[in-house]
């Protein structure tokens, strides 16, 4: 990624080759040698069978007293090829498990206080079942995933998100979801458990990184078919080669034919394919995203439309007061003063920003005697302060206008003009009224996150359409959309509107990704092709989506898309590389194979390899070694650079296509030079 935007959570460094992971992977390389494991991967199965055959031929030669050194060397190299492929898969699995285990470790050995008929009993966290009620108080761990049904608490979720600031979780809101392994810092809450032991999202995610139970994703299946097809074709080419060489008068040795076959079939991608798939899940986990299926991650790469919530994604969460607009006949000072008084006791960021703005303009006042602060409620849709005979309110224009009329005041037309102007500028107008007189408007502006504009430009180049979802009125929405550079916006959006929009885009053949947290987001999350639910959100939302973001970070959607694309790119790049390798391998092995029959064919030995034996061995060694060499690439993934598909293709073709043609020529030649002295 170019220029990591500041709001992005810094990727956690996880070493690919830590000793512990290596140990596990090495163990897995051998435990995966069972035929059942091998049969899951047709390409490697051919190598596996080839190894058994060459081993048999080695032993047969040994018994009959024929030379067996070459046969043994090929056998060992083929075995090594199989082991390397197993190792790659094992390493990816081990990483994923380690990642998941660190997430899970927190909640093991946690005791839970289960409520049964109003009485508490202490049970182990792992014994909890769905729908159990548990009590958690300050200082205690939350034993399992659940939803707060009673109370409110601040929760330290740093164990899973790495974010140290505590978050507020409250029953009955869109922030009622809690995760096992996090810690309650204050208050007491009652949680309804939503997933029993072994069925939490985390457990499902762990299943996705375990080779044995892992389901292949659709694209992986398609690619497997392609690779199996290529394997069959090359099997055919090599099997028929035997009668051909008999005709030519110099029958090829079975061991060399098997070596040729293994070199030609796409073992590089075939051996790394499972690891690539698992590593995709690993990367999601690393980004603190729990995917419910591998398919979800893969689909993310295909997404055409991103529905992004304005707040938190495009703008920083809070709006700030930026300007006072007094009505005619009112001084700016008077308006600022009234606004200041109404906000002194207002704890919201908006309130605080009004105070700050007023003070900036040199207006200040102490809190009046006996002031009664009136909080914002959903019913009144305004807040303010009462002291003495003065009553100041601030709120949406329409609401304040109604209040003015109630109080016998009048609404002058200029108000509408000012409100519109403020809206058009992308700000939210907050109208201030003192008693029955409307003083003016405070502009609350959205602050576009730094770097987001560039990010959207990138997305645009990648061919993704961005849609901003906001509850703002269309004028404000349009202004912000323009400033942020999103392609389109949905203003005054209701959950139904979102749903409608998703369906429309899907009708046009597009794939839609969205993020959501509230219960009323659930249908849209389920409808979207990629539905990323925030971990802080309600259980309904988390169930409906196909991914959960533990960080509850609204920009995560972009990262998900990149992980999905990176997964597909890695597969494509290594497939291209693997296929391109065949050219050099042919030039190494074919002359070696045929030179006895037709000595003239030695002119095809363009690499000037030392002898037929050294040529075959060099090719097989290259074929085996390239797998571990590419493991880091397979696990980290080919980095996705946001650019147009055409540009991306040229770049990757150059690196992996041309590289795939050239690298083996050089490597096989070097290997030949290295092993020649060993053989003499």
């Amino acid at each position: 990624m170019t220029a990591v935007p500041p709001f992005q959570s810094a990727p956690k460094k996880a070493s690919i080759f830590s000793p512990e992971l290596m140990q596990n992977a090495v163990r897995a390389s051998f435990s995966k040698l069972s035929p059942r494991d091998q049969a899951r991967n047709p390409v490697m199965f051919v190598v596996y069978v080839g190894t058994i055959l060459t081993a048999y031929l080695t032993v047969a030669n040994l018994v009959t007293g024929k030379p067996w050194g070459y046969e043994l060397a090929v056998t060992l190299l083929l075995l090594l090829t199989v082991l390397f492929a197993n190792f790659a898969e094992g390493l990816a699995e081990a990483r994923g498990k380690a990642q998941a285990a660190s997430l899970r470790s927190a909640r093991e050995d946690v005791k839970a206080r289960r409520l049964v008929d109003g009485c508490e009993e202490i049970v182990a966290g792992t014994q909890l079942k769905r729908d159990d009620l548990v009590v958690v108080e300050a200082g205690e761990m939350i034993p399992a995933d659940g939803e707060i049904v009673e109370g409110l608490a601040s929760v330290d979720e740093s164990a899973i998100t790495g974010e140290s600031a505590p978050v507020i979780r409250e029953a009955g809101t869109d922030h009622s979801g809690v995760t096992g392994g996090t810690k309650v810092l204050s208050d007491r809450i009652v949680i309804k458990i939503t997933s029993g032991a072994g069925e939490s999202f985390l457990d499902r995610m762990i299943a996705l990184v375990e080779g044995a139970s892992r389901q292949k994703t659709p694209n992986e299946i398609a690619l497997s078919i392609l690779l199996s097809g290529l394997t069959l074709i090359f099997l055919l080419a090599v099997v028929t080669l035997y009668p051909f060489t008999v005709y030519a008068g110099a029958p090829a040795s079975a061991v060399t034919l098997i070596a040729l076959l293994v070199c030609l079939i796409p073992t590089t991608i075939g051996g790394l394919l499972p690891a690539i798939g698992i590593a995709g899940m690993d990367r999601a986990l690393q980004a603190n995203i729990i995917a419910k299926s591998g398919k979800a991650v893969e689909v993310a790469g295909d997404v055409d439309v991103l529905l992004l919530d304005k707040t938190g994604t495009i703008t920083i969460g809070n709006r700030l007061a930026t300007k006072f607009y007094p009505l005619p006949g009112v001084t700016e000072q008077a308006l600022a003063h009234a606004a200041l008084l109404s906000s002194l006791a207002d704890p919201t960021p908006e309130g605080k920003s009004i105070v700050a703005l007023a003070r900036q303009g040199g207006v200040d006042a102490p809190e009046p005697e006996g002031a009664v602060f009136v909080e914002f409620t959903a019913q009144t849709r305004m807040s303010g302060v009462d002291f003495g005979t003065t009553s100041i309110r601030k709120g949406a224009g329409s609401r304040i206008a109604a209040l003015a009329q109630e109080r016998g005041g009048s609404v002058i037309p200029e108000l509408a003009l000012i409100t519109d102007e403020v809206s058009r500028g992308g700000a939210t107008p907050l109208t201030v009224i003192q008693n029955d007189r409307i003083l003016g408007v405070v502009a609350l502006s959205d602050i576009i996150k730094p770097g987001i504009r560039e990010r959207f430009a990138e997305l645009h180049r990648m061919g993704l359409k961005t849609v901003m979802i906001t509850g703002d009125n269309p004028l404000t929405a349009e202004a912000i959309a323009k400033e942020a550079g999103v392609d389109s916006f949905l203003a005054e959006a209701t959950p139904e509107d979102k749903m409608e929009m998703i369906k429309q885009e899907q009708q046009a053949g597009k794939l839609v990704a969205m993020m959501g947290d509230g219960t009323n987001d659930a249908p849209a999350l389920a409808q979207a092709d990629v539905g990323l639910a925030m971990n802080s959100g309600t259980q309904a939302a988390k169930e409906a989506g196909n991914m959960v973001d533990l960080d509850s970070d609204p920009t995560k959607l972009l990262e998900v898309v990149e992980i999905g694309k990176g997964l597909l790119i890695t597969r494509g790049a290594l497939t291209t590389f693997s296929i391109a390798n065949d050219v050099a391998k042919y030039f190494a092995i074919l002359p070696a194979l045929f030179v006895t029959a037709y000595p003239q064919l030695s002119v095809l030995n363009v690499m000037k390899l030392h002898s037929p034996t050294s040529a075959v061995l060099s090719a097989v060694i290259f074929n085996a070694l390239i797998i571990p060499v590419l493991i880091p690439l397979a696990l980290r993934g080919v980095p996705y650079k946001p650019m147009s598909a055409a540009a991306l293709l040229s770049r990757n073709l150059l690196v992996y296509g041309l590289g795939g043609l050239i690298v083996p020529f050089v490597a096989i030649k070097v290997l030949d030079l290295l092993i020649t002295p060993l053989m003499s």
Binding site: A222, L226, F244, A248, I569, V583
Partner: protein, 564 residues
């Protein structure tokens, strides 16, 4: 040398210039709504509903059924030749295995000829069976291509068109008019068109020369327009009656390329993206030119073994030089190379020289082109094969841009890949499988005319030609034996139907999918880069499979010639 390049450039320029007008014409044939009066009459006569819309299964079924009936009718006619009219030479019927081979060969548009025309077929059989099949098998191929293209372009998997309509229109609107005019030009240039019996001449030296004649021109025009390739005479288009002048040779070449090259443009029109059509055309042309120059340079360089004996093979003012064994003086190396490249690119299979007598690498080119079977290709099949590789390229390259691969807005998923791989696999399975069988058995090897790598090439060429539905031969192989008649017949069927039917299914599946709108994140398939990539994939996947066999055949053969 420069004269050769001038000829290449001229003919390829004419071909390219014809792509747009002929492509537009084909487009109206495939997409036009009106049925002409003769067509309506035809539909009424054979009792079909021209407005029936066929899905891929139905289209495939009707195609196979109509082909099957034609196969049986033709077999009957050939076996009963002795009882039928227009048989002035009194030729008897072919044996059952030869008749099977012959009818399958012409049914599949292969036009492999295990028989010698002037020695084996009556004028009636040449017209009623061979000429008819040249129309119908080519029309079947083009109809298949039309359905395939509709599938790629369409939105409705249940509507790949109507086989009968496509079949009839191609014959009425394309083949018959062109062939009639072309045949007259051919006669003007010296090609016979007569039902008179064989003529008897007394040569200047007093010997008797019996001259085989017949309705040659009418067969020759459809032979090349329909990329069929079966000759009227044994030596095919090398025979002066089939190819009297360099002009007829040039017209043969252009006829073979005319429809396959224009099909790319018609496709572009059908999918409303002519750029895509040009990219396919460009990919084909680049491979064609590469193969042409390879073939030309090896043949023009001549045979060093003969040079050592004192045969002069260098170009001079008074002779064209080159490896002239099995070639005709009027064509020289340049036109011969162009013809050979064309006939194996467009899977025609007619020859104006004996490929068996080429240098090793000269013979390598025709073989490789047939193995690829998508450099222009004949009667729509080459186009379908090219698209097959485009889909593979899209799949591999599409992954590299980080999206589920899409071709023409349709996602390429497991089912399509499965069918594409089946079609890709069919080719080597038939070519390598049958060749291995033939070289492993003692009996088939007795048919060889050459030994060593060249003998191997003869067998490899035979099955390659059969599978690619080409029909040309390393003619030294005595292929009229029960073994070859049977196995080459099977290879022809595999090559034809195991390509056509799976790809028709792919088209049907793709048509049923929802179209994904284009964006800058979509892999563009109508660019130079993508064209180059697909050529790369064709050469790697298509050619590498055959490289071991080619090394043991033509490559070893050539090296033995250079380093005896």
């Amino acid at each position: 040398m420069s004269a050769a390049f001038l000829q290449f450039a001229l003919l390829l320029a004419i071909m390219t210039a014809l792509v747009v007008p002929v492509g537009n014409w084909l487009y109206t044939v495939f997409a036009g709504e009106r049925h002409t009066a003769p067509e309506r009459l035809t539909y009424a006569l054979i009792g079909i509903n021209a407005d029936e819309r066929m899905g891929w299964q139905r289209y495939g079924l009707v195609m196979v059924m109509s082909n099957l009936v034609m196969l049986l009718l033709a077999y009957l006619l050939i076996r009963l030749q002795g009882l039928l009219p227009w048989n002035p030479a009194g030729l008897s019927s072919q044996s059952p295995d030869l008749a099977w081979n012959t009818v399958v060969s012409f049914l599949t548009n292969t036009n492999w000829q295990a028989y010698s025309g002037e020695q084996s077929l009556s004028y009636f059989s040449q017209m009623a069976v061979i000429t008819t099949f040249m129309f119908t098998s080519a029309a079947t191929g083009f109809a298949g291509a039309a359905a395939f293209m509709r599938g790629l372009a369409g939105k409705n998997g249940a509507d790949l068109g109507n086989f009968w309509v496509d079949f009839t229109r191609i014959i009425y609107r394309v083949f018959l008019p062109i062939c009639f005019v072309l045949a007259l030009v051919f006669v003007w240039q010296g090609m016979p068109q007569t039902l008179n019996p064989y003529a008897t001449a007394t040569t200047l030296e007093g010997a008797t020369q019996t001259i085989a004649l017949g309705p040659v021109a009418s067969l020759e025009s459809i032979k090349h327009i329909g990329t069929n390739g079966g000759g009227f005479f044994s030596m095919n288009a090398a025979h002066p009656f089939e190819n009297p002048t360099p002009l007829t040779n040039a017209l043969h070449i252009l006829s073979m390329l005319l429809l396959p090259s224009s099909l790319t443009y018609a496709f572009g029109r059908l999918i409303s993206n002519t750029r895509q059509g040009w990219v396919i055309f460009g990919g084909m042309l680049v491979m064609f030119v590469g193969f042409l120059l390879t073939l030309y340079s090896f043949e023009q360089a001549g045979n060093p073994i003969l040079s050592k004996l004192g045969a002069e093979q260098t170009i001079s003012a008074t002779q064209a030089g080159g490896n002239m064994e099995g070639k005709e003086v009027r064509f020289g190396i340049a036109q011969t190379a162009l013809f050979a490249t064309t006939t194996t690119a467009a899977t025609t299979g007619s020859v104006d020289s004996m490929h068996d007598s080429y240098t090793g690498m000269g013979g390598f080119v025709p073989m490789l082109q047939m193995m690829l079977n998508n450099v222009f290709g004949g009667k729509g099949v080459g186009f379908i094969n090219f698209v097959q590789y485009l889909i593979l390229s899209v799949f591999i390259a599409g992954l590299m841009v980080g999206r589920t691969p899409e071709f023409l807005g349709k996602k390429i998923e497991a089912r399509e890949i499965k069918l594409v791989m089946l079609a890709v696999l069919a080719h080597p399975l038939s070519i390598l499988g049958f060749t291995a069988l033939a070289v492993a058995l003692p009996e088939p090897l007795k048919s060889l005319n050459n030994s060593g790598p060249h003998g191997f090439s003869e067998i490899l060429y035979a099955y390659t030609s059969g599978t690619a539905n080409n029909g040309s031969a390393f003619a030294g192989l005595s292929a009229n034996t029960p073994f070859y008649n049977l196995t080459i017949g099977l290879a022809m069927l595999v090559g034809r139907y195991l390509t056509l039917l799976p790809m028709l299914a792919v088209a049907g599946l793709l048509a049923s999918k929802r179209r994904v709108p284009l964006s800058s994140g979509t892999l563009p398939t109508d660019t130079l880069l993508f064209g180059a990539l697909s050529v790369f994939i064709i050469l790697i996947v298509g050619a590498l499979t055959f490289l071991p066999a080619l090394t043991l055949g033509p490559v070893a053969d050539h090296l033995q010639m250079v380093y005896p």
